[in-house]
Symmetry: C2
Subunit: 110 residues, 2 copies
């Protein structure tokens, strides 16, 4: 494989990791793989995320077209978040991450 090809691969890795990276984004996406959820539901799932951070990360994921924010008409306090098709395409990847984590996490984080 040519060298230029490899560079591109490295950039792919960097970009993907930027998208799902950070402390929360991957976990938020993983949580939404299960089913669509509401703000506070996510907040509870994620444990000790602060609302400020959750808002910010959700906005990021929305801007990058991985999730959709849906505020139901009239009821301003009923908001759901769900994956876009794009977001759903991440499922196998997230699955692979979980699987690897289950096998190897403990050996590494001693």
């Amino acid at each position: 494989m040519k060298n230029k090809q490899k560079q591109v691969q490295l950039r792919d890795v960097q970009d993907v990791i930027e998208i799902i990276g950070g402390r929360w984004r991957g976990a938020i996406l993983a949580s939404l793989c299960d089913r669509q959820k509401r703000f506070n539901e996510l907040k509870r799932d994620l444990g000790d995320i602060t609302p400020r951070t959750l808002t910010k990360e959700l906005k990021y994921l929305e801007v990058n077209k991985l999730i959709i924010r849906n505020a139901e008409e009239g009821a301003s306090n009923a908001v759901t978040y769900r994956l876009t098709e794009h977001g759903e395409s991440l499922e196998p990847l997230i699955g692979a991450i979980v699987t690897w984590g289950q096998k190897h996490r403990k050996m590494i984080l001693s």
Copy 2:
């Protein structure tokens, strides 16, 4: 699936992303998937990483048993880095990341 199980999955995701996350770690690992490499070789592969950062990240990966640093006897300026078995077990995951990136990167980072 029970709720506790799901929490664990989220933590798996968070932990794995911490390990391969950040701007460089994933790319370093991806570069070493190819074959073992030396410090400056990695530096060139990665483009604009500073030596300070590269040193730091390599040390992190070594401590976490994903790579091995090998300084050849006597020759203090011949150092190679390669994946451990643990590190090699990440290959499919990194492959999946690259594949997803190739398909979806452009649509997201407009």
